[in-house]
Symmetry: C2
Subunit: 427 residues, 2 copies
């Protein structure tokens, strides 16, 4: 019997009515002749409610206890989903992360899954039960402590279960219809993608697209699990994330993959500029060592050409806004040692990323990209690229305009029918 793994997020499980709707959907999948395993998140905003409670009790709660607290949310939603399913006449069994065999490392708050031993799940499936698993959580190897995988971790739970059970597909249900060429709230003409490669999805997720959690895509790529991102509010087909070629079209010709997958944006970053750094070997290293010691993840880095007259240079980097204070403090501690003149902090920036596997073989992409931004009057402050991505930092208040301009320039708007295809055979 085919195994389907499904994931439902908090917005699909906001209240009793939503839970009943999700239960009907799960029952349909079972009735269609599948073994069904479901990973669920906590209901609606309940995770935030628990965090608020923790804050009231302790400003800096111990991570072990915070994990113990947070995992209660999925326990509640999974039991309710199982009840709603049994109310429809199907039998369901819920399992905590620990019971489901989700083994992690011991890093509370952002544990990594290192193994899945789904013995109880396969047993329950063999008995004809629908299986509901608490997402976002696991149990640490050896020490058997309850851990959580961090925000978005339920996506990863679902993919990890799909890999361990050799499922045919992992369906990620969310409140949008799939992966879009841009955020439809900013670009109303954004188009839903039918297919996207893991590589492109990874770049989009890393660039601010919130539809799939980065780690879940990495996991899916490693174990070659096709992900189907779709809406829990409709029955439309969503977006398939896979590296396998699309099935042949009706006339037998393979559907050409578009060059550009989409435009992602990110408002969660800030920029730090270290001004007047002596242009000597090892100074940049000292600066980034200080920031790294403060456990801060740096994204983009730019070092200006040294003004030879002064022998001084400026170094800018971006980082999560929430790490801003920590980074500035860490830098001030090394200011005397490194000898720079000032630290500037700027949280009014935005990041725009263009992602597409076709960039590799289409040198025209970057010209079109920068021309679109220039035409829209958007100034570029920093640039970084990968083989299949170009990212730029702009002023935050220009970000929406920039996204729309780039989206249109690459023919991604749905009104234009087809995406621009550079070179190649086209269609």
């Amino acid at each position: 019997m085919p195994i389907v793994v499904q994931k439902y997020g908090g917005s699909s499980l906001a209240d009793a009515e939503s839970i009943k709707r999700v239960a009907r959907r799960i029952a349909e999948t079972k009735k269609a002749g599948n073994d069904v395993v479901v990973a669920v998140s906590a209901m609606g905003d309940s995770t935030d409610d628990l965090l608020d409670l923790a804050q009231e009790v302790s400003p800096v709660p111990p991570p072990r206890e915070l994990d113990m607290l947070m995992t209660a949310g999925e326990r509640i939603s999974m039991a309710l989903v199982a009840m709603a399913i049994s109310d429809l006449g199907f039998s369901a069994r819920s399992f905590t992360g620990s019971q489901a065999g989700v083994i992690t490392d011991g890093v509370h708050g952002k544990a990594k899954i290192i193994d899945v031993t789904p013995g109880r799940i396969t047993e329950a499936l063999a008995k004809g039960h629908i299986v509901i698993v608490a997402g976002f959580q696991g149990v640490s190897q050896g020490t058997k402590e309850i851990t959580t995988l961090g925000r978005g971790g339920t996506d990863t739970t679902a993919v990890a279960l799909a890999a361990a059970l050799r499922a045919d597909v992992c369906e990620i249900y969310t409140d949008v219809d799939g992966v879009f060429t841009a955020d439809p709230r900013i670009v109303p003409s954004a188009r839903k993608l039918d297919r996207i490669s893991n590589e492109e999805m990874l770049e989009l997720a890393a660039s601010g697209s919130k539809v799939l959690h980065l780690r879940s895509v990495e996991y899916a790529r490693r174990f070659d699990i096709p992900i189907h991102v779709r809406s829990s509010f409709s029955h439309k087909e969503g977006t398939i994330v896979t590296d396998h070629p699309a099935p042949e079209g009706p006339e037998g010709d393979a559907v050409e993959a578009p060059i550009i997958a989409g435009v992602a944006h990110d408002r969660s970053e800030a920029k730090v500029t270290v001004v007047g750094v002596p242009d000597r070997t090892g100074m940049a290293a000292k600066i980034f060592e200080a920031v790294t010691l403060a456990q801060i993840n740096i994204d983009m880095i730019v070092q200006n050409v040294s003004a030879t007259a002064t022998g001084l240079t400026d170094i800018s980097f971006t980082l999560p806004k929430t790490d801003g204070t920590a980074a500035v403090e860490a830098l001030q501690r090394v200011q005397a040692d490194v000898g720079f003149s000032a630290v500037q902090f700027d949280d009014q920036i935005g990041k725009l990323s263009l992602v597409g596997a076709g960039m590799r073989s289409n040198p025209g992409v970057s010209a079109t990209f920068f021309k679109a931004l220039a035409d829209a009057g958007v100034n570029i402050e920093m640039i970084s690229t990968s083989e299949i991505r170009i990212s730029v930092i702009t002023r935050g208040d220009l970000l929406d305009d920039a996204v729309r301009a780039v989206h249109t320039a690459f023919g991604l708007d749905s009104s234009e029918g087809e995406a621009v295809v550079y070179g190649g055979t086209g269609r």
Copy 2:
């Protein structure tokens, strides 16, 4: 190091402020030089909130999933208590029932503890941690399913932990100062008892006193664990439940135990009367078999003397009000077979029980008891007795008057200073 087990109920953990107060209390106990293990209930009304959610999703939720749901409540409170303790500079570790080694049978919703294997608790104590355990829950032997012990189960968790850890005392914190000679809301002059025997406490708990859960007292008696019932809102000494004699008084003479421990009342029962039962062998058996098959617990039974002229008799019994409908339906199903004429249901009754180990050697007790009720104008509908208890059924609206009359007649009112002591050496 002495081991103290403490239990805090939902009313002591209603919100963040209450949790912080409980944490200070726990920290004090640790600072006084004890190893501390704490069993906690779910916060305030959160158990009822979860039950409401379950009802919205499924009118008859599967017991396994209901247990999974309910256990989330203690998970939340124990993590918050552990956080609040660590915020005071002490280290705390919380454990679920399963992690704490609370092994039960597999009866969901009212599982019985069959073993406690507290390996992780003793390990954590050895490392100097304060241990917080989720009350009310365990894991079933063999099948490893999450179970709950039923309402009041956290008392039992605490006593079972105390027994397994060979604790010096099990402190049950509640919102009253201890065990009283009667419910102070009905009898304002009720006195707090300094000591009470397990046997008397069992009878009080079985007769409607809510201060301790019946099963926890049975457990404490079996393992000879002294229970200290006290308030989480004050530092007053509460009531010690133990079979060991009281320590000697300042002049070397043992404190005489009072004859009467207290007066309990219960409004949760109803009365069923089966009218016109043919007075033949086996008819009563058929009636109670029908009721037992419906999983109903019967309390008191009265069969009237048969009216020889008709050859018919009436049989009355009491049962939990909530089981009333099920009992009446079960009886109607056997009406034709047994041949009785009608079933009457009466939920306007009250039960009053007088409990005291001194009854055994003091024949005057029942005379005083019935005279007090007669003087108060309270009619008695049913009577049942044990060696150390007399219970009567009265009209529900007379119950408060009856409790006060009996309380006064036995000199239990605090204004009178001392309890009446029949015979013996007295004081």
